[in-house]
């Protein structure tokens, strides 16, 4: 005869309601962890996507993500000729807003040279870009489907393929177009004053053939640091290894957002701990008279401790599992990516376990102190 179970069954509705509340709280905590992970992984996605070893950017900058970087288009040839480089590609990044189906669609446009590094890694639906103009491969989060036509600048682009999990650190879905198209678009979307200049024929060429960075894939045995050193000898260039680029992104671009969410997560965990402790403590307080009766009829402490601890563990376990199920069911509806690793769920389980045991400790203390005579009172 398990008293904890019998008591729960007797007050089943209330127990379920409490569990439900707790699981919502747990779902929020897990969502926050997932958003935190998602933020970090999104930030690195764009950097990891081209699968390169070296980023060549404008001298003295930490481009192209943390700072603006502008290089002449010819840089790519020079980089490609370096010893140890297998392949190199020019690449541009720009955020555009395009009207689509009466709404404004925000896209993080990546211009790359088909056949060179920088294009989408895996196209999950449709195909990659095959024409040199007016084709686009977009992230599914953009809401675009294959065959859709979207107007960027003055030209209509046809969606030919879809990729997954490619967003920038701000959460905007990415889309790939050819480098040529991207460069044209850059001049079309440039500020009016600059366009006036360009219309007069000044600076048009220079701006037409500028890129944000040149990315390079190295031979397996080549040392990225050494190649970077070589690039640095050209005064107008800076070279960053893949690892440099990733840490720049984490430090400069998402660091504040990461700390913000991290802090909020900490607050949320504290609140949850307090709520769980409060629930368990009240649960015990309400049973004090019954506990006094148990003592009176001769139940040992073991029985009373078991009653309290088992119930609080059950509460924690049910709250955690429902919370996990809930978040797994809804996580794909979040506007930003929610990434949950098994280790996150396990860590939360560990925290809840500790909180439950600590809270039942408080309840047990009160229960063991209660005078059996209070059962007679009245």
């Amino acid at each position: 005869m398990n008293l904890a179970y019998r008591d729960v069954r007797h007050n089943l509705f209330r127990f379920v309601l409490t569990c439900l509340g707790l699981s919502l709280l747990m779902a929020v905590v897990l969502a926050m962890i997932g958003i935190y992970n998602g933020l970090v992984s999104d930030a690195l996605n764009i950097v990891k996507a081209p699968q390169v070893d070296l980023w060549v950017v404008e001298s003295g900058t930490q481009g192209p993500f943390a700072e603006a970087s502008k290089l002449p288009g010819g840089t790519r040839d020079a980089v490609a000729r370096l010893h140890g480089v297998v392949a190199a590609g020019s690449i541009t990044y720009q955020t555009v807003e395009a009207p689509f189906r009466g709404d404004t669609l925000r896209l993080y446009l990546i211009g790359y040279e088909p056949g060179r590094p920088g294009g989408p890694d895996v196209v999950s639906q449709g195909r990659g870009i095959e024409q040199s103009h007016f084709e686009i491969v977009a992230d599914v989060k953009s809401g675009l489907s294959i065959g859709d036509v979207i107007r960027l600048g003055r030209n209509p682009f046809t969606v030919v393929g879809l990729v997954e999990d490619t967003t920038n650190s701000g959460g905007d879905p990415a889309a790939f177009i050819t480098l040529r198209d991207a460069q044209v678009l850059q001049t079309q979307l440039a500020p009016a004053a600059q366009r006036v200049q360009e219309a007069r024929g000044a600076g048009l060429l220079e701006s037409q053939d500028s890129v944000a960075a040149v990315i390079a894939r190295l031979k397996p045995n080549a040392d990225p640091q050494a190649v970077a050193q070589t690039v640095q000898q050209w005064k107008h260039l800076t070279a960053l290894t893949q690892a440099d680029q990733e840490s720049i992104l984490l430090l400069s671009v998402v660091d504040r957002a990461k700390r913000q969410i991290g802090l909020f997560l900490g607050i949320l965990l504290t609140v949850s701990a307090v709520v769980i402790a409060l629930i368990i403590y009240t649960m015990t307080m309400e049973k004090l008279k019954q506990i006094a009766t148990l003592k009176l009829i001769g139940a040992p402490d073991r029985t009373i401790i078991g009653l309290i601890v088992q119930q609080s563990l059950a509460l924690g376990a049910v709250g955690w599992s429902f919370g996990l199920i809930l978040i797994l069911l809804v996580k794909d509806y979040f506007p930003r990516r929610v990434v949950l690793e098994p280790i996150n769920a396990a860590a939360l389980a560990g925290i809840i376990l500790v909180v439950c045991i600590a809270a039942s400790g408080l309840g047990v203390r009160a229960a063991l102190k209660v005078d059996p005579a209070t059962a007679i009172g009245g």
Binding site: M1, R6, K295, L296, I297, P300, A373, I376, G378
Partner: protein, 235 residues
Amino acid sequence: MSVDPRRVIVDVANVSKHFGEGDARVDALKDIDLAVHAGEVVALLGPSGSGKTTLLNVIGCIIDPSAGKVTLDDELVYDNRWLRSDLRKLRLDKIGFIFQFHNLLPFLDAKDNVALVLKLAGKSATEAQRRALELLDYLEVGHRKDSMPALLSGGEAQRVAIARALANSPRIILADEPTAALDSKRAGIVMDLLRKLAAEQDACIIAVTHDEKIYDRFDKLFHLRDGRLDGGDMA
């Protein structure tokens, strides 16, 4: 079964109990001497606040006396301090409680409320269930064995509580106004039952009551007034 009327089961000697100190001091029991024999059914009478519940609680090892000696079933259990550390085990083995309000555990059905004390005393689950049913039948509430306490009538709940008090065949049954929640017919039935149990199990019963209609069911009546005991008149 031979009942030795001379054998003392509950022996309270020079027991005093006060609550609080100084101005707040209440002398609830003053120098009480009480001996109850095997098979005896005695009543504690007295106005409200005279110390009846306090005396029952002292005998039931629920509160500490301030002075005196308490001997239960030939074992000296209190002599200026408790001589046993496991008072709950003592209660489980030797004492059955019946309260004015039944105090059944609300989350266990009638049968399991009784079976619980049997299990706590080390009986197997099947043995506990068997004896619980037997007791409920004996108290004529067997048909309510699966009901939760909240759904039992006052009299039914009280009889389940009595079954629980009797489950481990205690030598001492302490009852605080056991019939207050019952009509006079039921009260009479419950008292007859307690008498029968005392005789059969060689136990003693000490009951607090205000109910004059059942005075004739007791062997002795003890009167408490301001913490002092007069008594032992034959009913």
